[in-house]
Symmetry: C2
Subunit: 374 residues, 2 copies
């Protein structure tokens, strides 16, 4: 295993790609789903359980960690991998997205975004350079450039302004990353909202900067799925085939399948854990809302063919009981069950691509979802 970041494309099937990323903290089989470890923990799941679901890599949130416990403190404690007991790969975002969605009193200009912490009101300045510095202090195997995420729908002029600023910040991020330890990677982020021309322009400016990988940002902000898929179809052909492609913040199981079908290699999303905490289970036969009274006396497990022990062990009646009683174990089990389903879906896609039967796999999982839970 290489100690440095590399990406190897193993097989393609249509646009779908089967690959492997090497990182200083181990390999990542792609297409890969990254569970979100917002505050240095995947909510309600033990790290060894996260690993057991099949995750090779987690996402950590720069915004949350810079506020609490602070990047310098995490570094003094040995870095994020040690701090959270996750010895495998970690990707950190740049903080830009959460600044826009969570922080108060944002002021953005050429130099930086200035914001007030949602926790205690402290003022912070986040520059592209500081974002990279934080991510290096955390010890991220893969860092993301700082970008400006805007809400959709937006005026074309506003989308273009943010996209151009993000390009200039991409350059500054790249320069700041030059002093990062050998082996770590930095990804650029394609912006441009739902505007095809702007997306292409963004990609064409970023590719010559020679990032280790490329993300598609600014999606999963409430737009219809067809808008998201159209953006992927616009951007993917512009990206170099030998580098990984990461669709940020996506998505539902169907989003993942459709995005892989269009050449995406990496994903992150809070859906499996957030919805797990709210009583929703993702399964081969679609989502199951365990709050529903019809599960109260159902002795069946969620899926007795699952490779994940909890998925085939606990009855729906028990999970219903835990959810109704607001017991923490309900959130724990359903978060892990959902992560396991997501990882099994990714594994299924990887195997299907290797076998050259991705289209058949895609049709099969959709048929099962449509069949529903009976």
């Amino acid at each position: 295993m290489s100690n440095s970041f590399t990406f190897r494309l193993i097989k393609t099937d249509g646009e779908a790609r089967r690959g492997e990323i090497s990182t200083p903290h181990g390999p990542v089989a792609t297409p890969a789903f990254m569970p979100v470890g917002t505050q240095a923990t995947v909510k309600a799941v033990l790290p060894e359980e996260v690993r057991a679901t099949g995750a090779d890599i987690l996402l950590g949130n720069t915004y949350h960690l810079m506020l609490r416990p602070g990047a310098e403190r995490v570094a003094a404690l040995g870095g994020l991998h040690t701090f959270m007991n996750w010895p495998h790969a970690i990707l950190t975002d740049s903080g830009g997205f959460q600044v826009m969605s969570l922080a108060q009193l944002r002021k953005i200009d050429e130099k930086a975004v200035v914001f007030r912490s949602h926790l205690d009101g402290t003022m912070y300045e986040l520059t592209p350079e500081r974002s990279i510095e934080i991510q290096q202090l955390l010890g991220a195997d893969i860092s993301m450039q700082l970008d400006e995420c805007i809400r959709l729908p937006a005026e074309r002029k506003e989308i273009e302004r943010a996209m151009q600023l993000s390009l200039r910040w991409a350059e500054r991020s790249k320069r700041a990353f030059e002093s990062a330890p050998v082996g770590r990677a930095l990804f650029g982020i394609v912006q441009g909202g739902d505007d095809k021309k702007l997306r292409i322009e963004s990609a064409r400016e970023l590719v010559p900067m020679d990032f280790h990988g490329y993300a598609i940002g600014g999606l999963a902000v409430g737009e219809p799925q067809e808008v998201m898929l159209a953006v992927i179809e616009t951007v993917a052909p512009e990206l170099p085939g030998e580098k990984p492609r990461y669709l940020m913040g996506v998505g539902t199981p169907e989003d993942l399948v459709e995005a892989v079908a269009r050449g995406i290699d990496m994903f992150d999303c809070v859906l499996p854990t957030r919805n797990g905490r709210h009583g929703l289970a993702y399964t081969r036969f679609g989502p199951i809302n365990l709050k529903n009274a019809r599960h109260a006396e159902d002795p069946r497990p969620l899926d007795d063919t699952s490779a994940h022990p909890a998925t085939r062990t606990y009855s729906r009646a028990y999970l219903h009981h835990l959810v109704k009683a607001s017991e923490t174990l309900g959130a724990m089990l359903l978060s892990a069950i959902n992560l396991a389903y997501y990882q099994s879906l990714m594994r299924g896609m990887r195997e299907a691509i290797e076998a050259g039967r991705f289209d058949a796999f895609r049709a099969q999982v959709k048929e099962q979802w449509a069949r529903g839970d009976r």
Copy 2:
């Protein structure tokens, strides 16, 4: 391993007793601590984690389970062991204590206690016979007689009235238990508040009824430790040596050591899990409040000599961070860490009794607690 309830006294050291209970769901090494699984879950701990801490037996709460999901429903789903995925021994309480502490509109008379559910206002009637029926539907390896728990301090007349009622309910419970499946056990409960004469009278009436074991009830309700220890010293000599003795609802680590020193074999208590959820860790060097800012940069684990992986893996700084950030993982880790400490304390006592050095062990653990966390 026997399939029936038996108790074998292996060794005594002073008043301290090392024994083994056999149950239809496996052996229980005594002195034993039973984690509390109130609503068919030990809060915030996976059942396999509870087992990994060393627990042989859990306590389930009849009051909670009769209200939700209901005893008949649990029975239809295969019983409590299957329902909550705990294939080891289970003791259930009678419901009496929670009726007094949680339910509304209690009315108690010779026949029954009638109460209003704290969940939805439904009226319930709990008789000694129904309590036993519920516990048999749940499938408890060890059931408890229904008793009346009163708050201390109380008038002697009131204590005596409740004690006498509890004796009559003991007889009714015993009769109702006659139809229980072979191998299961029923314990009687000594009441009598802090009154020595009443405690002795209660014990002397119960012993001829020939229960499988005897509990001391009505303690751990806020009285000083010396009152509790005095009651044990009064009651223990009245109980048959060949049957297990269970001190209900107790206690702190020091309570456990002092009670074992006075001949107690079994305990249950919510402290390790409840306090874990509130940021308190029990360790060899006493309790550690992880909310305290002094832990924020402390890279040391709670106890690097612990046999429990999480106790020696996660830094105090990380646990502090999780507690400050109200992350579920903090409650999960500290609940498991505390259960592991309690079980290691019980294991230490068992080994010390076997080796005939219980007094030295007791002095040593107290010295370590007094030394504190440095």
